[in-house]
């Protein structure tokens, strides 16, 4: 501890000390500095928003702005419905009416002649006329476009009759042609020819109430109002759709005032939202139905009893659907009697649901030769479109157990589930869901033997014949009649355990006036300040 030692130690020590600390601090600062310099949008989203703009939280990201490439329900509900126009429009209950087309007629079963409005312009100034419609359809019918297959099987070609009159010719008489127009918006010829397909994808232009501003993938879609919109300039200046896949995130953002509308909330969140003075809940019935399909030929083997009509009826009587709706879905669903929703064209409201009656279920099972019940495999997905599918499945299984049917349940993730179903490698009783504004959408897919998705216990070729007739008839009364016959068949053959149609639940900030519509679309031009 001599002076010399201390001196020697002090100098190097202090240099080391400074250098090391400097190095540490330097590294930390460099790291933080480098990290903060990465290109990131610096505008903060914490500040409260003026009424000039609204933000909506959506559950899926935009996939394709270009309608010739694919139809995704989320794209349609957020982007297409605001940026594009279609020839026809749905009202709040889902019924179709005039829009770009003021009127139409069918001179022959395969020809549809539309008279267009004359005051519509695209966002780039081009007029929307018969030429534009023809161009749009020729583009949909280009073989290299992904949607070609689906569209070409319906539409043959388009013809210009005069400046504002266009004829669409279908391959066969098609009863639900108007429905299909909903997914085929009209696009600007000049613009697309100028920028090409890729340019259009990057910056889509339409004739709708809102113009596309920007889409940063996985983050948000920005739209701004079109002041020259033919149906009147919308009130809200800017709209942002933010991608928020997680329910808790959407709820938190709604409560913090970061978003004004949240799409697709679960029933459990209703109480929390109603408790908050600044928020309210808005719901709309969805034509989406949740049901179980009976598949007696299932490779799992336990489906044989389901070949018996009485067993299928027994299962329907055994399940207390009202209780499921009340307790699992907080009342936010509407029971359906057969696989057909009230919003679907041709609905027959006279068909009763099979009542909850476990005693009757037991006696039916005994009659059918299963007095002690039997063992049944059951499949449910863990996600996808149904709300709380696993809980619902468990409730159904419990009700079946109560009448003597012993249930083996599998929970499978949604994507794998779809694959299994397509490969017909599912349980004899499996949960499925379907949506459709026209009876054909629902029935063809489920009941026609040529459908990729076909499953129907009790099928015979009268079903195919009926469906083909309604498809190719343009007489809507005739079609409605056929739909009623098909619903009667469903009530007769009981190929499903129909549960309910879901309700789309939205959380809304009280500062705006907006109500949910059937279909779950967020139509920006209908949003007003409160």
């Amino acid at each position: 501890m001599g002076n010399i030692d201390q001196r020697n130690h002090r100098q190097p020590r202090s240099i080391e000390f400074r250098t090391n600390r400097r190095r540490l601090l330097g590294a930390g600062a460099a790291g933080a500095g480098a990290a903060s310099l990465l290109p990131i949008n610096w505008t903060t989203s914490v500040a409260a928003q003026s009424i000039d703009s609204v933000t909506i939280g959506m559950t899926q990201d935009i996939t394709y702005p270009d309608p010739a490439v694919s139809v995704a329900l989320n794209d349609l509900s957020t982007l297409w419905i605001n940026v594009y126009d279609t020839l026809i429009m749905r009202d709040a209950d889902g019924a179709l009416g005039p829009w770009l087309a003021e009127s139409w007629e069918t001179p022959s079963p395969t020809e549809w002649v539309f008279a267009l409005r004359s005051d519509v312009r695209f966002h780039n100034g081009e007029p929307l006329d018969a030429e534009a419609v023809k161009f749009t359809y020729e583009r949909y019918l280009e073989p290299d476009k992904p949607r070609y297959g689906a569209i070409a099987s319906i539409v043959d070609h388009a013809e210009v009759i005069d400046a504002m009159t266009v004829k669409l010719v279908t391959k066969e008489p098609n009863g639900l042609f108007l429905e299909l127009l909903w997914e085929m918006p009209i696009l600007p010829p000049g613009y697309i020819q100028e920028v090409g397909d890729d340019g259009f994808q990057a910056n889509p232009v339409g004739s709708g109430a809102y113009k596309f501003v920007e889409w940063s993938t996985g983050d948000r879609l920005e739209l701004e109002r079109n002041p020259d919109y033919w149906n009147g300039a919308p009130t809200i200046e800017r709209a942002t759709f933010r991608y928020m896949p997680e329910v808790s995130t959407r709820l938190a953002a709604l409560r913090a005032g970061e978003i004004d509308i949240s799409m697709q909330l679960p029933p459990d969140s209703i109480a929390d939202i109603e408790a908050d003075d600044e928020l309210r809940v808005s719901t709309a019935d969805s034509p989406r139905m949740i049901y179980f399909v009976f598949f007696p030929e299932s490779p799992l083997g336990s489906g044989e009893p389901l070949g018996e009509l009485r067993v299928r009826k027994a299962i329907n009587h055994a399940v207390n659907v009202d209780s499921i709706v009340e307790n699992i879905l907080a009342g936010q669903a509407t029971r359906v009697a057969v696989l057909y929703a009230p919003q679907t064209f041709g609905f027959d409201s006279s068909i009763p649901a099979l009542e909850y009656d476990p005693e009757l279920a037991r006696s039916l099972l005994a009659e059918a030769g299963y007095p002690d019940g039997f063992t049944l495999d059951l499949d449910v997905p863990t996600g996808g479109n149904p709300i709380k599918p696993v809980e619902v499945g468990q409730a159904v299984a419990a009700d079946l157990e109560a009448v003597g049917i012993s249930v083996r349940m599998r929970n499978v993730d949604a994507a794998t589930y779809t694959t299994m179903r397509n490969e017909r490698n599912v349980a004899p009783m499996f949960m499925w869901n379907w949506i459709g504004f026209d009876g054909d959408y629902v029935l063809w897919g489920n009941l026609h033997s040529e459908s990729q998705w076909f499953y129907m216990a009790g099928w015979d070729d009268e079903i195919d014949a009926l469906i083909e007739t309604e498809r190719t008839s343009v007489d809507q009364d005739e079609r409605a009649q056929i739909f009623q016959e098909l619903q009667a068949r469903l009530a007769l053959d009981v190929p499903h355990l129909p549960l309910y149609q879901q309700r789309d639940i939205f959380g809304v900030n009280e500062r705006i006036k907006w109500d949910a519509v059937t279909g779950g679309y967020v139509i920006l031009r209908n949003i007003e300040p409160a």
């Binding site: 480098a34 903060t44 914490v46 899926q60 928020m244 063809w444 990729q452």
Partner: protein, 307 residues
């Protein structure tokens, strides 16, 4: 010479790992699902289903598919995303920077808090300081990070309104996701720093330094931390890899548009090209980071150099 050979061996090993990853991902994906199904409209017929599978190349045998996949891979072509018909690699690389940004901030937070606190816990071992820090790290490690994330949002965003609930936008938006992400690595690292330092501080050369008259802070900086550095650097390197590849939960909760949330989306859509490209990109990054970490040892620890 020895360096060159060492480096070469490590690089070859890295390539082998990446190759193995591509095989594993390819096989597992193909065996687990069928993306064609998700592309069919409700009106699809058997014929259309077959056409879609053909277009995606899914109708061929597994080895044929793998061969085609591999030959494209070496050219850097991961194919087009099924969802968006844009090159999968481009989509992945577009989203990667957001994840890197988040991970970088998390790593800075990690080091800023773990090293000092771990050191304190070691120095004051047995006192209330040590006990407090150890308890906090234990609790932090036990809490699931998605729960912590949601709780932080409920408190700081909804209740207090100090920070945004989600999304990208300014430094405020980084705080909660980076904290959530860093929490568990932080607890592990703090405990590691503590135990490594304790071990080192018990060594003979520390006693010698003290006997020489070196003051404590100098001992810690010059001798203790430096010697404890190797395992600490290893763990930080591994953690960066974990943060880059595993920020999936945090990105989903906070709607952070990074690679993690892209992977979740791609998985639920069975978008094979994007899943494959994501996994390969993350694997490459982790492998490169490990390589760098290994090289760092050589700089940090002269004993390794001499082997």
């Amino acid at each position: 010479m020895r360096w060159g050979r060492y480096l070469l061996l490590r690089v070859l090993g890295a390539l082998l790992v990446i190759f193995g990853v591509t095989v594993a991902v390819f096989v597992i994906l193909r065996l687990s699902g069928d993306p064609a199904a998700l592309f069919m409209s409700p009106m699809a017929t058997e014929e259309e289903y077959r056409q879609i599978r053909e277009r995606m190349g899914l109708d061929e045998s597994l080895p044929v598919q793998y061969f085609r996949y591999l030959s494209q891979l070496v050219r850097g072509d991961f194919g087009d995303s099924y969802q968006r018909s844009a090159p999968a690699l481009g989509i992945v690389l577009d989203r990667f920077p957001a994840t890197i940004h988040l991970a970088a901030v998390a790593v800075v937070l990690l080091m800023m808090f773990a090293i000092p606190l771990g050191t304190l816990a070691a120095i004051y071992r047995g006192t209330w300081i040590d006990t407090t820090i150890s308890t906090i790290t234990l609790v932090a490690q036990a809490l699931p990070n998605f729960w912590v994330g949601i709780m932080l949002v409920m408190f700081f965003s909804v209740r207090l309104g100090w920070l945004p609930t989600s999304g990208i936008g300014g430094w405020q938006a980084l705080v909660l996701p980076a904290t959530t992400l860093a929490l568990q690595p932080w607890s592990r690292l703090t405990r590691l720093v503590r135990s490594e330092l304790l071990e080192v501080l018990g060594q003979d050369y520390i006693r010698t330094a003290r006997a020489k008259g070196l003051a404590e802070p100098a001992i810690r900086r010059r001798h203790a931390l430096r010697n404890a550095a190797v395992p600490i650097v290893t763990v930080i390197g591994l953690d960066i890899g974990y943060l880059l590849g595993g920020a999936i939960i945090v990105e989903t909760i906070f709607a952070w548009p990074g690679l993690g949330s892209l992977m979740v989306q791609a998985m639920s859509n069975q978008d094979f090209p994007v899943i494959q490209a994501s996994v390969v990109v993350v694997a490459c990054t982790v492998v490169i980071l490990n390589l760098i970490t290994d090289l760092l040892y050589i700089w940090l620890d002269p004993r390794i150099r001499l082997q």
